[in-house]
């Protein structure tokens, strides 16, 4: 499968990088972005974050634009976050979830997409359990496509909000040591974060049960990625500890003996966190399995920034919708 970055005119997209970062129409993955584009989105998101602190949490920027949230997978946080982001920009947001869609009546994905397209939305936010679905939609749709999670491939807005949280607390990402712990194999959050953090100059260490760390990650070593067998090796000296959810719904086989055993060997406890730097911060993309991948004492401590992540998620998605619907360099 080839992943189309959505750029119809790649030369002009890169030429204008410095003065106008992020000029792509679609946001399909972090892998396609340059560091300058990532910084452009994060800077924009930081300026959008103030809007959510106002009494009137709404600006007219996207008045008259339509955003469709097309979710083929269950999601509360991400869908709500995108919906609030669209509404705070005055766009009209429509939510379609799989249970209420005609997909369950036998329609193909592309037919669904073309039917939605005929209603002239400006942006389609899509989540699907199969990797590459947003990229396929981007080929047929006139709307800007934003990937809200495709299978185990990417979840770009999650990586962006994680980066925004890190920047708010650590000022910069360059030079930081980041440990990502857990079910790397099934995690689109891990993939997007590894791309983003290494592009931004962080040193990333991943750790998890051998069965849950994919072989294809080992080629990323040259970009600053290190694969650790023991969770302690990954966490030691880290500035940021990112804990992933055990995705039982994606695991079609027994990757580890039991949740209890996983918790004993890989769960983030205060003792393990003590190996990290004193000012280390803890991130988790949610929803948390308390007592499995993260101990309650850690989740509820001041070092855990899980609610900050949710807060910045709205700002990041506002920035992405604003930039994506702004009509990039497509066809000049």
């Amino acid at each position: 499968m080839t992943f189309d970055s959505g750029i119809r005119n790649p030369q002009s997209a890169t030429r204008n990088l410095l003065e106008k970062p992020f000029r792509r129409r679609d946001l399909l993955g972090i892998r396609d972005l340059t560091a300058a584009e990532i910084i452009g989105i994060l800077d924009t998101a930081e300026n959008f974050s103030e809007i959510s602190t106002r009494e009137v949490k709404k600006v007219p920027a996207l008045r008259g634009k339509t955003v469709i949230n097309l979710f083929f997978e269950a999601s509360t946080r991400t869908r709500t976050s995108f919906e609030l982001a669209a509404k705070r920009l005055s766009a009209d947001a429509v939510n379609i979830s799989v249970s209420s869609s005609s997909v369950s009546k036998g329609e193909t994905l592309l037919d669904t997409a073309m039917n939605l397209d005929a209603m002239a939305p400006d942006c389609i936010v899509v989540r699907h359990s199969s990797a590459g679905v947003p990229h396929q939609l981007a080929k047929v749709s006139k709307a800007a496509i934003v990937n809200a999670g495709d299978g185990a491939n990417e979840h770009p807005t999650q990586a962006l909000l994680d980066a925004m949280t890190i920047r708010e607390h650590k000022k910069q990402i360059d030079g930081l040591e980041v440990a990502i712990v857990g079910d790397i194999l099934h995690s689109r959050v891990a993939r997007s974060n590894i791309h983003l953090l290494t592009k931004m100059g962080a040193k990333v260490r991943v750790a998890g049960p051998g069965t849950l760390v994919p072989e294809d990650f080992r080629h990323l070593v040259e970009n600053g990625l290190e694969v650790c067998t023991h969770v302690e090796d990954a966490i030691e000296g880290a500035d940021v500890v990112m804990i992933l959810r055990i995705q039982r719904e994606r695991q079609d086989a027994a990757y580890f003996p039991s949740l209890r055993e996983y918790s004993i060997h890989y769960g983030l406890t205060n003792e393990r966190l003590d190996l990290a730097r004193k000012d280390a911060i803890v991130l988790h993309p949610g929803p948390m399995n308390r007592g499995i991948e993260i101990a309650s004492e850690v989740a509820d401590s001041s070092r855990s920034l899980i609610l900050d992540q949710v807060k910045y998620g709205v700002a990041v998605r506002m920035a992405v919708l604003y930039l994506a619907t702004g009509g990039a360099t497509v066809n000049g």
């Binding site: 809007i51 106002r54 600006v59 007219p60 920027a61 008259g64 930039l323 702004g326 009509g327 360099t329």
Partner: protein, 187 residues
């Protein structure tokens, strides 16, 4: 698209000393009209309204012994041409920390031309609350004939009748090498 480097300066209409005098007079007029600095809230419009607002705040504090409140508006998200300007322009932060309810707002910008920026600024202000009054102070007014909306300034540094193909550029040390106002033209 033409960049700033393509522009030719036709005439210089204000130098650093002239700008200083104009701002001093604006500060005096603002406190005179509003009988002091009490409940005054200076709001600079990004970008070049911001340093002008800072200078006016300092001058008003020197005159009255009391500093007016101060904030910053970024009007990008309230522009009426967002769907026509191509890629969406860069958004900066709005900073209105103090409540604007019941205050006398002095909107401050460098140049008054079509009035569309001021319309956007007023719409944004109203989303923040209900000020008692809103007044407009500009360093340069390009003249009523260019106005596309019924908006006029209450305080004007200098009225400069201009042609439509001319560009008035207020240069400030925060952004440029010099402190001056010039009329420019595309060659």
């Amino acid at each position: 698209m033409a960049s700033e480097f393509d522009l030719v300066e036709k005439s210089r209409i204000m130098d650093a000393a002239g700008m200083k005098r104009a701002l001093r007079r604006l500060a005096t007029e603002i406190v005179e009209k509003n009988q002091g600095a009490k409940d005054l809230y200076l709001v600079g419009i990004r970008r070049r309204g911001v340093p002008l607002a800072e200078r006016l705040r300092d001058k008003i504090e020197a005159l009255e012994g009391e500093a007016p409140l101060y904030g910053i508006l970024d009007i990008t998200l309230y522009r009426d041409d967002l769907s026509t300007v191509g890629a969406n322009p860069v958004v900066n932060r709005t900073e209105l920390v103090e409540d604007i309810d019941g205050k006398t707002i002095i909107l401050i910008d460098d140049v008054l031309y079509t009035g569309r920026t001021i319309r956007a600024a007023m719409d944004q202000l109203m989303d923040f609350g209900r000020p008692k009054k809103v007044q407009l102070a500009v360093l340069i007014d390009r003249g009523r004939e260019h106005r596309e909306l019924p908006i006029q300034a209450d305080f004007i540094g200098k009225l400069v009748p201009t042609k439509q193909n001319e560009i008035v550029k207020v240069m400030l040390k925060e952004f440029d090498d010099v402190e001056a106002v010039g009329i420019f033209e595309r060659p």
